[in-house]
């Protein structure tokens, strides 16, 4: 991208006189501008890379960058007590999710950090964690006062504790793909035919890990119009896995010979359903018809507290040019072409979720979610 590089140098040379001035300014103000710049650049990255062609970076990377940015905000922003910090993070979180609504990992990480802050606060205050978490009817009736005022107390070590907890979260994020791949041998045996769709880095690592010890066959549905399945197939075949690329139309035709369907997803919704790449619902229905198990490899940071909604179940589209190219010019103006990016898969069609904390049934997802996020954070 020559224009960006050029822009960078232009900016640097322009800022050089100002930069030397800032060296004598207050360090706090400098950190703030630096922080806001970073946030701005992150937001513009988010806006840019959500073209639906698979983001330029995977969700894991996005999650890591979001968490790193939130740690920086905690470290550098000005706040006095936990309530202030949560307000700041919530504000930034709203801006980030608004920049790219389909990238739900951003919002998920924000909610995780908010939960961390609440926990650290509660620990500093000395009250047990469990008491705060349970939302039983009894609690609601007897608690009385709202919990908002509770966050106004100032604790000296809160900052350090929160940053340490966020670092733990980051280490957890680093290891998710490995944790999931480690479970591969428990689920794949020899001479199996596995079907997958599109390109998922998690599933790729999962299958490659199993291929080190077992021999099996993979069928990849190419997932038009972006045909990311091609990339997946070339990558798998380099590890000597027998791979076949099939067009989307042949999914039901070959399903009778498939033993397992293993897919990745963009988001796991609160009811256990999926928001995955388009074509996944057809795949899930075909698997159900043949009673083939459908396994979803999804790390925990993809779990989102949203429920599926009529309006925004298919809320992201790509340019119809991908579907019906401009070379078909004469009929283009008279035809509506649609290019939805995501599909909703209801939880009844899913057999198993494999995440970094182990395997779960879709009916258990609500419980995992309550452990990850605080109910008050569901709406940022």
């Amino acid at each position: 991208m020559p224009s960006l590089l050029h822009q960078f140098w232009v900016d640097l040379l322009q800022d050089l006189p100002r930069f030397t001035e800032t060296l004598v300014k207050m360090p706090g103000a400098d950190k703030e501008t630096d922080l806001s710049e970073r946030i701005e650049s992150f937001l513009s990255e988010l806006k840019r890379c959500g073209s639906g062609a698979g983001s330029l970076r995977g969700s894991a990377e996005t999650a890591r960058e979001t968490t790193a940015l939130l740690r920086r905000i905690t470290a550098q922003a000005r706040w006095g007590n936990a309530g202030d910090l949560m307000e700041i993070i919530r504000k930034e979180g709203r801006r980030m999710t608004a920049a790219q609504p389909s990238e739900t990992t951003v919002g998920n990480m924000v909610r995780r950090v908010l939960k961390i802050i609440r926990e650290e606060y509660a620990r500093s205050r000395g009250s047990t964690e469990e008491a705060d978490q349970q939302e039983s009817l009894h609690k609601l009736l007897t608690s009385g006062g709202s919990s908002e005022d509770n966050f106004r107390q100032h604790f000296a070590h809160l900052k350090a504790n929160v940053i340490e907890a966020i670092n733990e979260l980051l280490t957890e994020l680093e290891g998710t793909t490995d944790n999931i791949s480690m479970q591969a041998l428990e689920h794949i045996h020899s001479n199996e035919v596995i079907m997958t769709i599109g390109r998922s880095r998690t599933v790729e690592a999962f299958l490659k890990d199993a291929a080190r010890k077992r021999k099996f066959h993979v069928m990849v549905a190419e997932c038009a119009p972006f045909c990311q399945g091609h990339e997946m197939a070339t990558s798998l075949s380099k590890e000597d896995i027998e791979t076949t690329v099939i067009p989307d139309a042949a999914i039901f035709a070959v399903m009778s010979r498939v033993n397992k369907v293993i897919i990745g997803t963009q988001t796991v919704l609160a009811n256990g359903g999926l928001r995955a790449v388009n074509g996944t619902h057809t795949l899930a229905l075909a698997a159900k018809h043949h009673s083939t198990p459908l396994i979803v490899c999804a790390p925990m940071f993809k779990l989102s507290p949203q429920f599926p909604n009529e309006e925004d179940t298919f809320h992201k589209f790509v340019s119809p040019h991908e579907v019906l190219p401009f070379t078909e010019g004469e009929i283009l103006s008279k035809v509506n072409a649609h290019g939805p990016v995501f599909d909703y898969v209801p939880p009844e069609l899913i057999t198993l979720f494999i995440s970094n904390i182990g395997g779960n049934a879709p009916s258990y997802i609500y419980r995992l979610m309550s452990e990850l996020y605080h109910p008050e954070d569901h709406e940022l």
Binding site: A53, M219, E222, C223, A224, P225, F226, C227, H230, E231, A233, T234, S237, K238, D240, I241, E242, T243, T244, V245, I246, P247, D248, A249, A250, I251, F252, A253, V254, S256, R257, N278, G279, H281, T282, L285, A286, H289, F314, V323, L324, E328, I331, K334, V335, N336, A337, H338, G339, P340, D343, Y344
Partner: protein, 518 residues
């Protein structure tokens, strides 16, 4: 092309130097057939005849199979070529005698079998002019195009093609192991490249088939029939031969060539059966010009009845099923469904159409062009967006390539998926199919008999990157480009044919009615 057939009969005729009478030729043929049969004992019971009450009883004294290549298998080419010595019919005068003898034998057989079999099949035998095939065990020879993994079958095919001077096409690319029993050709190497001598109409037709210029079972059948009309026009009966026997032999190499270009469809198979039957029914005293004229008229009437008028009838029924305000989903390009929609639009029905398309053929764009030209409001999506678009849809109209005897619908790959998802959303699925596409085959999955298209079609360049460019170099990577798939009958709500609107499971009834009529 009289010299292209190395028929042993001809050589025998020339060897004796005398003109053998028809009866002697017939006797020669019978002996030869018996000789061949004793050699081929391990190949299983020979083909059974289904038409005209001919006996399929394996009587050793007479050749059991008088099949003029009327087969249920979709590749009549192979069997017909190998049985062409006996392919011609007996002269008309002794046919009646033979038929009477056979009927007597059948009745006695039936009487003995009734003692063994249960009542269900006795109803069939109670009919006076019963179809004997109900009770006879019908074992069909496997068509060649599903025996690619058998080296013996391949050798046999190669020998046959050499005899007919038809170029043999070689497979291309790495084949997925599940489909090692099918051919996989490359579009860049059509068999027409190997034609050294004069180019005929059927070579042009074969090239059009292999390049996909003529696609769709109706179009291919019509092309085939027109080519046959030309062949009949140019045909001259050689001396000492009968038109009814020789013309069938002449057609065999053309059919082999066309099936090398692209495997024959079920509709083409039925059309070929019909033509061969018509040719063999020409009485021997008919003059050549008269016979040719008759055959051409037969072909014209076949096209007219079975394709053109049938589509009119189907449109009439289908338009009853289209109401104002409907949102109709169609898949790919079916000439019949397009015709129905255009007719409905002309009859002032208010509806809009959603065209679903799939890679790599992208036939839906052709449908889109035709409908937009008519003025119908259309929406276009790819098949992966099916779950998105289906909640808006009120009906699904699908075309078919063939309807199998167990009620399964064989159609373009992706049709079964559409039917599956439509069923999940409770949208009615209507299949439109002419009766000449009904075939006696049965199939339960899309693997055992299918067509593999050129795997290079799946390669696509996006954003300047072609991931699959060198797929041949990677040894564990395969591309699969299926052409057909089968839809189970529980996904299909209604089949609209020229005989009316029937459920999927009534296909064998229609087949039986057709057989009785013929």
């Amino acid at each position: 092309m009289a010299d292209s057939d190395g028929r042993q009969v001809d050589s025998i005729n020339n060897a004796t130097g005398k003109e053998l009478t028809k009866e002697e030729k017939q006797r020669l043929r019978k002996e030869k057939k018996q000789h061949k049969k004793s050699k081929k004992d391990d190949k299983g019971p020979p083909e059974k005849e289904k038409e005209k009450g001919k006996a399929s009883v394996p009587a050793p004294s007479k050749p059991a199979t008088q099949s003029p290549a009327h087969k249920a298998a979709p590749a009549p080419v192979n069997a017909s070529a190998s049985e062409s010595p006996a392919a011609a019919e007996k002269p008309a005068k002794s046919k009646a005698e033979l038929r009477a003898e056979r009927r007597a034998r059948q009745d006695s057989d039936r009487a003995s079998k009734q003692g063994k079999k249960e009542g269900g099949q006795q109803s069939a035998s109670s009919k006076p002019k019963a179809t004997p095939n109900e009770l006879q065990p019908v074992v069909k020879r496997l068509p060649e195009h599903v025996q690619v993994d058998d080296p013996a079958a391949l050798k046999k095919l190669a020998k046959k093609l050499e005899r007919q001077q038809v170029p043999l096409r070689s497979d291309y690319g790495y084949k997925v192991s599940l489909f090692s029993h099918l051919h996989q050709y490359s579009r860049k190497n059509p068999p027409t490249q190997q034609i050294r001598y004069s180019v005929n109409l059927h070579h042009v037709l074969g090239l059009q088939y292999s390049q996909g210029i003529i696609a769709g079972s109706n179009a291919r059948s019509v092309g085939l029939l027109h080519a046959f009309k030309q062949v009949i026009q140019d045909y001259n009966t050689p001396p000492n031969e009968e038109l009814s026997r020789d013309l069938v032999n002449k057609l065999s190499p053309y059919i082999s060539f066309l099936s090398q270009c692209r495997p024959l469809s079920a509709s083409m198979g039925n059309a070929i059966k019909y033509i061969k039957k018509e040719i063999s029914n020409i009485p021997s005293q008919c003059k050549e010009e008269e016979a040719k004229g008759k055959l051409q008229a037969c072909i014209d009437s076949y096209i007219n009845e079975k394709i053109i008028l049938a589509s009119e009838a189907i449109s009439k029924y289908a338009i009853e099923k289209i109401s104002n305000g409907d949102v109709i989903l169609v898949y790919g390009c079916s000439s019949l469904v397009n015709h129905i929609l255009c007719e409905a639009f002309e009859k002032q029905r208010k509806f809009r159409v959603i065209v679903v398309d799939s890679r790599p053929r992208l036939e839906g764009r052709e449908t889109l062009r035709r409908l937009v030209k008519k003025g119908i409001r259309c929406t276009y999506v790819l098949i992966s967006a099916l779950s998105y678009i289906l909640p808006e849809v009120s009906k699904v109209f699908l075309g078919a390539h063939a309807l199998l005897a167990n009620g399964y619908v064989m159609s373009r790959v992706g049709t079964s998926q559409i039917a599956l998802v439509a069923k999940a959303y409770n949208v009615p699925v209507l299949v439109c199919c002419e009766t000449y596409k009904f075939c006696e085959r049965v199939q339960t999955d899309s693997f055992v008999s299918n067509e593999l298209d050129d795997p290079d079609d799946l390669i696509v360049t996006r954003n300047g990157k072609t991931h699959l460019e060198n797929w041949q170099t990677v040894k564990s990577l395969g591309l699969l480009n299926l052409v057909y798939d089968v839809t189970p009958p529980d996904f299909v709500d209604l089949v609209i044919t020229d005989l009316g609107m029937i459920p999927c499971t009534s296909v064998p009834v229609v087949l039986r009615v057709k057989n009785v009529d013929q």
